[in-house]
């Protein structure tokens, strides 16, 4: 019996962590990229009735799968809610988190994660019913504001109104559906979330879109981008540079359609990017044409934006901050050389 007791103890204390393998090797070995996405944000990541995922964040996954595995469809999508997302990445359940996640110091420094690059510059805004005749967020004194839990949103709300010396009452919901339902039933005087989502909520979720307005203020900076685990610099570099490659491609005018012609280009920068001259892939541990594969799968950054959230989508978001640096935006990729 004593042996039995010792066995139980041993079993209990056996649960010690194992060491992580290199992510790139694991992805290649199983011939599949495991990508953490949201449980459904139209335009960024959502599944259609067939269970096929699409959206801006999903295209980032596809570009990386194409660069690494030469097949943009070899992806397993793991839908994660706000609380699940970091633990899923930390624990190795997903290789990559591409799920409208804001880059902040706390997250970058204390969660065992690395934010790779910014794929979308967002900001937090407000949606209010038109009949309240509010034109500025500063008029929201004593208002009740519906908000979904699990985002940076609640903290921004606290910070900004504190700074303005205005008291507001947040009504916090666990689920997106519940928060939307409460707002449109008139429970709150305002709804707050990232501006990119507000446009969608106004046009698709409101009973009468014209009865609601988005206030002009953005009360926070919300840089969104893919996140990887710490301790694997090789994988960190791959994700980062695939994103940069997509931005570079737009800058050099390389599109999904003209990719093959561009391969014949004599511009050294394009040759480097597409792997027709130097082998930039070798440095990343990838094949020569890694960037070309990514572009072939999802197009350049501009195409990706236009198709999912821009003028070619129901969201019709303007490029604004997400235009290239030489077109008045903030997108600036380090040179690929």
């Amino acid at each position: 019996m004593r042996t039995f007791q010792i066995a139980v103890l041993l079993l209990l204390f056996h649960l010690t962590p194992a060491h992580a393998g290199k992510t790139l090797d694991q992805v290649r070995q199983r011939a599949q990229l495991v990508c953490g996405v949201s449980t459904g944000v139209i335009g960024f990541s959502s599944a259609d009735s067939q269970g096929r995922w699409n959206g801006f964040d999903v295209d980032v996954c596809r570009a990386i799968a194409a660069a690494v595995l030469n097949d943009a469809d070899k992806i397993k999508y793991v839908p994660l809610n706000a609380q699940q997302r970091f633990t899923a990445l930390q624990s190795g359940e997903v290789d990559l988190l591409s799920r409208n996640t804001t880059w902040t110091l706390t997250r970058d420094a204390s969660l065992g994660l690395h934010f790779t690059a910014i794929t979308y510059y967002d900001g937090q805004g407000f949606l209010v019913p038109k009949k309240l005749r509010i034109t500025s967020a500063k008029q929201l004194k004593n208002a009740e504001i519906c908000v979904q839990s699990g985002t940076t949103t609640e903290k921004n709300l606290g910070d900004w109104f504190k700074a303005q010396g205005i008291k507001v009452k947040p009504v916090v919901f666990e689920k997106f559906e519940a928060s939307i339902k409460a707002f449109f039933s008139g429970r709150c005087q305002a709804y707050t979330t990232d501006a990119s989502a507000l446009a969608f909520i106004r046009s698709k979720e409101a009973p009468q879109p014209d009865d609601y307005v988005v206030l002009p203020e953005l009360i926070s900076k919300e840089p969104l981008g893919p996140v990887v685990r710490r301790g694997d610099d090789e994988w960190f570099a791959i994700v980062k540079w695939v994103v940069f490659a997509l931005i570079e491609a737009e800058e050099y005018g390389i599109t999904q359609a003209n990719l093959e012609q561009m391969k014949a280009s004599t511009d050294p920068a394009i040759q480097r990017l597409l792997g027709t001259a130097e082998d930039s892939g070798k440095l990343l541990g990838l094949e020569r044409d890694w960037a070309a594969r990514a572009i072939k799968a999802v197009g350049n950054y501009g195409e990706m934006f236009q198709r999912n959230v821009g003028s070619g989508s129901p969201l019709k978001l303007p490029r604004a901050l997400n235009a290239l640096w030489n077109k008045g935006g903030l997108l600036y990729a380090p040179p690929i050389r």
Binding site: M1, F4, Q5, V8, L15, T16, P17, A18, H19, A20, G21, Q26, T39, A47, S49, Q50, G51, K76, Y77, V78, P79, N81, Q83, Q84, T87, A88, Q90, S91, G92, E93, E174, K175, E177, A178, I180, K181, F184, S185, K204, E205, A206, P207
Partner: protein
């Protein structure tokens, strides 16, 4: 035949002797004293006041066509059952691919019929065992696919009624053996084993299910060694099993302790070993005595599955909000949706509790002290 005749004679005799007139019946049941009379009149008045409006809303003014404009037109004076007609596929099957929804339908029918067959004792014991061992893999095969030309459908797309049924059925089936072990552990002579089992039971019973689900859903991946990952549905299912087992084990322990000490002695006197006595003498009596309480636990588990919607799974309750909250046209008819799925839950729970009361009466099992 003779028995039936005797019964009929008795009834006829009783009727002539008692001759309960309507008047007597009314007096005894509705107007036995002043207080009772006032209550009856007050309740009747309330019924006259409320019922017409309720019937109006439920049926007469209700809109049954899936027509949002017609629903909007009656201005909530009548229920909009059209919302169910319009959205029943999402409510019942969640995000499961639309063209493939015959699969969850078939899976649900399969599982339900095995459950019904067990409850109504339609099959002999061996056949029942076989039916269960076929039904569960069959259910998972139909839902998940990947074999026999069925396309793979990831568990993140499962939803609605089949998911609720799966969580409840597996929850109960897997919790039972675990609960039995824990109950035996709590009664064992080994202090460490007894302590561990007691600890587990008290720990789980002391916290809300939602915290266990949070643990399973958000935290479990960190506790696991890196590189290992478990499907979130499996984790949540494990959470439900662990939670249910703690409560079930207390029920079973009550049953085990209720077996008279003489039974142990008698078994020992017959030369049976400890395990033999347990298997053949003690357990059958103990389990039989607690079947009704176990049915109560089954009802609780069935209701508790609704909580997984909080960790972003679209079972029946979650599927309803998926269907309605995201659709501006139908959003204001949530109440009808709640009533619809409420009815589904109610049918399930009520038949289970009726079943357990039937068992109590049929087997003459004394009501277990709660």
């Amino acid at each position: 035949m003779a028995q039936r005749l005797a019964g009929a004679t008795q009834r006829a005799l009783g009727a002539t002797l008692m001759k309960p007139t309507t008047r007597d019946w009314l007096r005894r049941n509705l107007f036995s004293n002043a207080f009772s009379s006032v209550t009856t009149l007050a309740l009747l008045a309330a019924a006259l006041w409320w019922l017409p409006g309720l019937i109006d809303w439920l049926l007469l003014q209700a809109v049954f066509r899936p027509d949002a404009a017609a629903c909007e037109a009656v201005h909530h004076a009548g229920a909009c059952w059209g919302v169910v007609a319009e959205k029943y596929r999402v409510i019942l099957f969640g995000r499961y691919p639309y063209e493939q929804q015959w699969r969850p339908l078939l899976a649900t029918v399969l599982l339900l019929s095995v459950i019904l067959a067990s409850g109504l004792r339609l099959l002999p014991r061996n056949a029942l065992l076989a039916a269960w061992t076929l039904a569960l893999p069959g259910f998972l095969l139909l839902m998940g696919g990947g074999w026999f030309g069925l396309g793979r459908v990831g568990s993140d797309q499962w939803g609605g009624l089949p998911l609720t049924l799966l969580l409840a059925t597996l929850g109960m089936l897997l919790a039972l053996p675990l609960a039995l072990l824990v109950a035996l552990g709590r009664l064992s002579g080994l202090p460490l084993l007894r302590g561990l089992c007691t600890l587990y039971v008290e720990l789980v019973r002391g916290v809300p299910l939602i915290s266990v689900l949070f643990l399973a859903s958000f935290l479990f991946p960190i506790i696991l060694p890196q590189g290992y990952s478990i499907d979130v549905l499996l984790r949540v299912q494990a959470g439900i099993v662990l939670f249910a087992a703690a409560y079930l084990s207390e029920t079973i322990r009550g049953g085990l302790q209720g077996v008279p000490a003489g039974q142990h002695d008698a078994a020992a006197a017959l030369g049976l070993g400890r395990w033999q006595a347990l298997r053949w003498i003690i357990l059958p009596q103990a389990l039989r005595a607690v079947v009704p309480s176990m049915m109560n636990s089954a009802v609780s588990i069935f209701k508790d599955t609704s909580l997984v919607t909080v960790v972003s799974m679209y079972e029946l309750t979650g599927a309803l909000s998926l269907a309605l909250a995201g659709d501006a046209e139908w959003r204001s008819f949530h109440l009808e949706g709640y009533l619809f799925i409420g009815l589904i839950y109610w049918i399930g729970c009520y038949s289970m509790s009726r079943f357990s009361r039937g068992l109590e009466r049929a087997d003459g099992i004394p009501r277990a002290a709660a």
